[in-house]
């Protein structure tokens, strides 16, 4: 089983939700519970262990919020 | 008619339509985008035509064609876009075509910024294009005045067959004030556009719109005839507001929105017992030279000060008018910075301190 991890630079996130639409595992969601200093609900990953490190989320993010490790 | 609250840009567009303008050719640029947007919406309603040209260069040349075909036509832009129109403006002036051009000035040079400025004064009044020519330059201070001047501007353009520029700034374009669209107080006898290229059916000479005179003698005669027209304009069309000049120790020269700020300063100064006057040129070209001359001869006037949103441009015309009779000072902010009343007041005090010493 491949271990992978995504890291969000939440301050850069603008809450556009694009990343949530491309995750094959459906684990990227918006964090409705918090806001960054720009006033956006940032994207985040639930169930990180399901992440396959495909980097789709990172590749579609217009604000280079996401790093992926594998 | 009742008043409506309108943005300066939209009011200017509506004024043009009420003045019979049915053609608008423009290119987007901040801070005047409400003008083309309004025109795009309204012109089809009144049987007119709006085109978003591929550039300012193209827009001004569409204006040339439409004006040459006899239409009332307008374009608008802001500083960099107006620079691109300079060749076209020189052609329009050379071919003696009437039209109205709006410049909602923003900070420069180059791409600069988008906040209000008055640093295109030289370009507007001295001729940013090549050759000997002038635009009639109208500088409204309120939105109501903008509306009135746009409407009269079309008449002036038609009467003298010369382009008219409305020189505003981002602030005037973006703010809202109540306006009334009222008929012009002065009715002009406008000449028929018998010179327009509408088709040569034989009942008049063939019409040619042109600014080429390959024989220098012919070109000189052409230019001199245009300059005779300019003398007429100077005689008939100067507009200026004098405010609180009687007994003023110092007279400030300011136009457009800056003049409004100066008025606030004057009220403030009055409360402090300082008598400050304002000469507000409404026509920047022709410049109200004689008004300055007259006040410069009054003994109570110790000095003049030009206040501008520029590094000092109109001040040259003030100096030319005052012609050494009194000292002429300058205070300005530029790049989109708006002069603050307190700063102006303290400049005024400095000058008064200096000249009364």
């Amino acid at each position: 089983m491949c271990m992978a991890r995504v890291i969000f630079d939440e301050e850069r996130c603008k809450g556009c939700e694009l990343c949530t639409t491309v995750c094959p595992k459906g684990i990227v969601v918006m964090a409705r519970d918090r806001m960054n200093s720009k006033g956006y609900h940032p994207a985040t990953v639930i169930e990180m262990d399901k992440c396959i490190g495909c980097a789709f989320c990172a590749r579609i993010c217009p604000d280079v919020v996401i790093e992926v490790e594998k | 008619m009742s008043k409506v609250l309108m943005k300066g840009n939209e009011a200017i567009a509506e004024a043009a339509i009420q003045a019979g303008c049915r053609y608008f050719f423009g290119y987007p640029i901040t801070p005047q985008n409400e003008i083309p947007a309004y025109m795009a919406k309204r012109l089809p309603e009144v049987g007119g035509c709006f085109i978003q040209a591929e550039s300012e260069v193209s827009a001004i040349n569409m204006v040339y064609g439409a004006a040459g075909a006899g239409a009332r036509v307008m374009t608008s832009s802001s500083s960099p876009g107006i620079s691109l129109k300079q060749e076209g403006l020189s052609y329009i002036a050379g071919a003696e075509l009437p039209c109205v051009v709006v410049n909602m000035v923003r900070g420069g040079p180059g791409l600069g910024g988008i906040q209000p400025a008055q640093s295109d004064y030289f370009q507007a009044t001295k001729g940013g294009g090549h050759g000997d020519y002038h635009l009639v330059v109208l500088a409204p201070s309120t939105i109501q005045e903008a509306v009135d001047l746009v409407m009269e501007g079309f008449d002036i353009a038609d009467q003298y067959r010369n382009p008219v520029m409305i020189l505003g700034d981002g602030m005037l374009g973006q703010m809202m004030e109540p306006v009334e669209f009222r008929p012009l107080s002065s009715k002009r006898e406008l000449p028929l556009k018998t010179w327009a290229t509408t088709g040569y059916t034989g009942d008049r000479p063939r019409n040619i719109i042109n600014s080429l005179f390959i024989d220098p003698q012919a070109l000189e005669e052409h230019v001199k005839r245009i300059y005779q027209k300019y003398e007429e304009i100077k005689k008939n069309e100067v507009k200026v507001e004098c405010y609180n000049c009687e007994d003023a120790e110092i007279i400030v020269a300011a136009y457009g929105t800056t003049a409004r700020i100066v008025k606030s300063v004057i009220q403030k100064a009055k409360r402090e017992g300082i008598n400050v006057g304002l000469i507000r040129p409404i026509t920047l070209w022709p410049f109200p030279t004689s008004t300055f001359e007259e006040w410069a001869q009054r003994e109570h006037v110790k000095a003049f000060m030009s206040v501008e949103m520029s590094m000092g441009q109109m001040v040259e015309d003030v100096r030319l008018s005052v012609n050494g009779r009194k000292p002429v000072y300058f205070y300005g902010r530029t790049g989109g910075m708006v002069p603050e009343p307190n700063a102006i007041l303290s400049e005024i005090k400095k000058v008064i301190g200096g000249v009364s010493r």
Binding site: - | L5, I114, M171, M175, R260, S264
Partner: protein, 183 residues
């Protein structure tokens, strides 16, 4: 009498509309008015603010540097515009979004829980009208009826159901101004 007003907040809070309604209402009352927005790259998100003047005299400068009243709808606006209130002037703070207190003691400050009230009315977007209601009640700068008339103009005939909501918001805002602090 001259009202020199600054209204500031986030882009989406209806700041510009508040100012326009005030100016329109002022005009309907036969006053001289002006409305001046800040424009520019700020428009794209970030903060927005506008200046409104309502006066018996013709409006000279449309720029408000010494405000008779300032309304701030978010925290950055408080920081930025608190200093612009003239001595003895009025500061209206949207206490729903601003937890900080004003620091000046030479002005009158009202804390209006505009968003909370709006939420209570079932539409958080009328927080601006709550604030406006407070301002009008406090200063009498314009009559609420004219504000509603202006709003009717702005919304167009189809949105009549909104009007009631907004009227209510104005009223609720007006009720708040009892809680003001004059220091």
């Amino acid at each position: 009498m001259t009202h020199q007003i600054i209204i500031a907040g986030f882009g989406g809070q209806g700041i510009m509309l508040m100012g326009q309604l005030l100016a329109y209402a002022g005009m309907l009352e036969g006053k001289n008015v002006s409305w001046l927005p800040s424009y520019g790259p700020e428009m794209r998100g970030g903060t927005a603010n506008c200046n409104v003047i309502i006066s018996d005299e013709p409006v000279a400068s449309p720029i408000v540097t010494e405000a008779t009243a300032v309304m701030v709808m978010n925290r950055p606006s408080l920081d930025r515009f608190e200093g612009a209130v003239m001595r003895g002037g009025l500061l209206l703070v949207n206490s729903s979004l601003i937890d900080k207190k004003a620091s000046r003691d030479d002005i009158e400050v009202c804390y209006i829980p505009a968003n909370e009230i709006a939420d209570q009315l079932g539409n958080s977007r009328v927080a601006n009208m709550v604030m406006l209601g407070s301002y009008i009640a406090k200063t009498g700068a314009v009559s609420p009826a004219f504000v509603i008339e202006s709003l009717r103009k702005a919304l167009g005939p189809s949105k009549e159901h909104f009007i009631t909501l907004n009227e209510e918001a104005l009223k609720r805002g007006a009720e708040c101004v009892k809680e003001c602090v004059r220091r």
